[in-house]
Symmetry: C3
Subunit: 303 residues, 3 copies
Amino acid sequence: MVKEDPKSLAGKLQPWLERLRAGRPLVHCITNYVTVNDVANLLLACGASPVMADAEEEAAEMTAIAGALLINLGTLNSRTVRSMHLAAASADKRGIPIVLDPVGVGATRFRTSTAQALLREHHIALIRGNISEIKALASPSIGLGTGATKGVDAKESDLADGLQGRIQIARELARSTSKNSNGSGTVVVISGAQDVVAGANGPAFVCNNGCAAMQTVTGSGCMLSALLAAYAAVAYTADGNKEDNLRYAGLAGLAAMGICGERANALTEQQEGGNAGFRNHLIDGMYRLERLEGTAKVEVVLE
Amino acid sequence: MVKEDPKSLAGKLQPWLERLRAGRPLVHCITNYVTVNDVANLLLACGASPVMADAEEEAAEMTAIAGALLINLGTLNSRTVRSMHLAAASADKRGIPIVLDPVGVGATRFRTSTAQALLREHHIALIRGNISEIKALASPSIGLGTGATKGVDAKESDLADGLQGRIQIARELARSTSKNSNGSGTVVVISGAQDVVAGANGPAFVCNNGCAAMQTVTGSGCMLSALLAAYAAVAYTADGNKEDNLRYAGLAGLAAMGICGERANALTEQQEGGNAGFRNHLIDGMYRLERLEGTAKVEVVLE
Amino acid sequence: MVKEDPKSLAGKLQPWLERLRAGRPLVHCITNYVTVNDVANLLLACGASPVMADAEEEAAEMTAIAGALLINLGTLNSRTVRSMHLAAASADKRGIPIVLDPVGVGATRFRTSTAQALLREHHIALIRGNISEIKALASPSIGLGTGATKGVDAKESDLADGLQGRIQIARELARSTSKNSNGSGTVVVISGAQDVVAGANGPAFVCNNGCAAMQTVTGSGCMLSALLAAYAAVAYTADGNKEDNLRYAGLAGLAAMGICGERANALTEQQEGGNAGFRNHLIDGMYRLERLEGTAKVEVVLE
């Protein structure tokens, strides 16, 4: 494992934050009703503009005017799954990046088969999940309806996989997905104490920002996926290879969320608050975030 | 443009706030799942009692025991659209005021046609939208499915319309809608930096309270529409002409929301917070709000 | 009415709080979209793990891996009612406790008939409602579609029932419900200024913790029911009779919520906040709560 100078890598992230603030992309979200308000406020906080529309009558039309499509399986049902496919087809046609958050995949057959169908039928620009969710997708024979995850949380046993193991799983999943018409592949993000960003090939990135308190609030994963969708919107409209852009922009998003988490945790402890206070500080921190340099703790893992 | 003494006008608003606190009207909301929690808490904060019920099996029955019906198109689908019509018919039959928030109308054909059908088939007491949404409704040939709005936000170009232009658009929309059985017409509210309240005829009102931070939090428009529904409930049960009452009560609601926004903004800046903190302060401010006099910045525009 | 030493009773509650923190039960919630985010954060705050899944395709499967099932009728519709029955049947089969929150029962025929069907067809471990909701269920001839409740709030007239009267109503409802395969009956909780916990037989408990501010925030009842579902999960897995366990564990949950409400109210007043601040402090308080002893104000009512 060769590590690039973290300072040099961290310096490549700031421009993505600035592109996001300048671009104010519209992010169309088909997401769950548990954390949707936090998702909308986090998107506004980071500089994006959220729109939620999950009716079959309008899903494709709304995606057509958006900069990115977020699909989150948190509270899927047969109606919204149809809308997800309609919206995804609209995104495919127009080269709009799709971010998939396979919440709870592996816990029920419906979640697993829905995620698999989305991956099979559309080009997913980025998948973000915890290690249990990504393993369930990367190893269908293990994941399919075996209750591999504990509801929507990662299993303790899955957390034992080493960093190299997790990068390997991310790469395997990336290799199994379909490319878009430009030949760009899928970027896989495994979030956890050490976040991993990897595609089928190329360098893998690791982000060490964040804090354990992220697990104490509902929606920290959903908000992260929404943030990555906002970064995906600017990654796909900037010059250069879309997949390469997205690896850096995705790492910028992970660093941004991790930094806001660390700051929110410090404020919450100082105020003797709990998870509701943490959530407010997390969103407020994203609203105030200006610099990733000097605070992002990131590294490159070269094969 | 003749301007009435703002102090005199502001003095006519306080009684509506007091009637609302005393009446504690039940507001039946068929609204979106993004901001529904804030809508419920804002209604409780202002002194009203919220109830949410969007099943076809019960929508009409729930409206029948309510003081006002709020219809918000934020995350409509074919099932909830049927419930909106059932609830609206129940309100029509009983003279219960309906407030329509045509979220994102103009962005998709489904939203535009749903809003048009609601306006055609029922008496809507009050419509509240941003300038792009109201233009889309007032000029169907422009608005219909042309992506006239950027998701759910107002377009920059639409904001360029002058105050007189916006009042004119509000009047046009009011003239095109159906009256209720008492002959009362629709009151149209265009919210923005300068809020406009106008019916087909009679004086138009302008409210200059509020702050730019309102746009940084999801649901500020939805909460405003819910507040106007609470004020509509008391406007329709008080003595006097319902449409006249509602113009004053609606202005009181706009002033209340604007004042709370200004105070929330000051607190948020002081605490170096962001949009999550702002949202909490906004609702808390409504909970504490006692006086509109002295702080409401309102004026009358006579034709 | 013989009163047991409150200190002795309060001392029996702390172990249940500790079992909950240690067990981290997964609580499957089919609940309304108004307060679902607060429900999820409250569950995380108390030490449980929430999962929301309301699709017919997966409801039974998700319940099968959970420690308790929460059914909340807040925004029911025909699709989610089918999922409630599928999930409840899955719970019945596995001896997983079901907690029912019959929000707004009595306000519409759909709510009343749905609650009645759930009570008839499944073993409900615990029902939690306000006095109007519990009366509507205990006296079907009164409650059925007569608009007995004011939306989702208790009627003033119902609050006039004395403590003994409320215990009697709780017992009547408990007697009319079906037992589970172990012979355990239903525990009924009526929340209010004085919370009541009673089964068909055995001692009834009263909890005097809490504050009027609980009524100013949406979801305080929903959060309480979710908390009781978390306590039910540990009551049903601990040694001893499930119904007896649940009476004590339920009282522990009521005391926990009441204590957090009192503290949240004190903080909110100190900060000159409102209902949004109160909600955050309530959840944060549950996150920090360590001891019930010394603060729980509980008593036993022996027949």
